[in-house]
Symmetry: C2
Subunit: 211 residues, 2 copies
């Protein structure tokens, strides 16, 4: 819990003027140990509880090879391998529209490397757009804690540029131009629905026509 003086300044305990205390660390977002995935899961739970949207992360795809069935207890998977996802990680419904996105974070400071995606994920995004779905990526720069929503059509353009021999990443400048910053909050942590409302003109509408 944070205390505030009547003047609105944050209360800083005296001992923290030397080495940072545990309380100081908790004040900083980066030290909370929350990943982008954690934040999005909490955001989606908030949307669900508030009846704003139904968006879930898909389970990690696993190729199961061997399963044991011990007596009187649950089946145990004894050999399995991670499979490459053929789609994006998150999807669901908002105001009747299909929502589909991928979330990635990077430690890079000046650009976002495109190797974070696979060819078939880009292809999936193209297909979703073709069918009138809302598709985007959420990017977090972990060093600066900046979060952006980049519509899939822009990502696809950067991907095609790379495939034509261009650069293998998106510069920070390009992200600033093509994407929308998402301010970090408390509840929800990453309020991407607000950006969707703005981008696709859904404010106050229920299932408005996008095409």
């Amino acid at each position: 819990m944070n205390f505030h003086y009547p003047n609105g300044r944050r209360y800083i305990p005296k001992q923290s003027k030397g080495l940072p205390t545990k309380a100081d660390k908790q004040l900083s977002y980066s030290n909370r140990g929350m990943t982008l995935e954690d934040d999005l899961n909490e955001t989606n739970l908030f949307y669900l509880e508030q009846k704003l949207a139904v968006i879930h992360k898909k389970p990690t795809p696993v190729q199961i090879v061997q399963v044991d069935y011990p007596k009187r207890s649950a089946a145990v998977i004894r050999e399995a391998y991670f499979k490459q996802a053929s789609t994006t990680d998150y999807n669901g419904v908002y105001k009747g529209k299909y929502i589909d996105f991928e979330a990635k974070e990077t430690r890079h400071k000046t650009s976002f490397p495109l190797k974070n995606f696979h060819e078939h994920q880009i292809h999936h995004m193209e297909t979703v757009l073709l069918h009138g779905g809302i598709c985007f990526i959420i990017i977090r720069f972990s060093a600066t804690e900046e979060v952006y929503l980049l519509p899939a059509n822009h990502l696809i353009a950067f991907w095609n540029r790379m495939n034509s021999g261009g650069r293998k990443s998106i510069t920070k400048q390009e992200i600033a131009e093509c994407s929308h910053p998402i301010k970090l909050g408390f509840r929800p942590r990453i309020d991407y629905i607000k950006v969707i409302d703005y981008l696709y003109n859904l404010t106050g509408e229920k299932g408005i026509q996008l095409q």
Copy 2:
């Protein structure tokens, strides 16, 4: 490959008049060893290839406990458990609309037991409907190879009847009244999109307003 005489009768090889041959077995749908899941996966692949819809089965949710990282080879999951799914198995986008469904088969002949579903799946379906998504179940009676599409609002009503002390299953008669039969085909095998077009008046439209 099946041969047909000019009169349209199916060619039956002579030796098959005794014990059934392998070819005979292949003629029967039930003996193909295809599950409802196989059929739906092929159907969804067909829809994807034909650019009709983007609908995928979600991966089986697994709780991973222990992973080995052998040198020079892929990570091996050594201990994991099946988790109960919190949503339905299939979702995606068709004509801009969010599609969400669960598929179940039963060996019962006269009714469909509601124990095939979990409370939270029913709750998920209610939520999807609330947000303007298209939600239903696909039921197969394996003994008779009949396949039905039952809109989620009916399933929810039967579920509530059970929770109020009513019967724990849906009778075949009720299914005939509330659902839509899906004729089995070759490509696609279970053409449920046709039923959606009909039920939600989407024929010839792209992303038509449902609310």
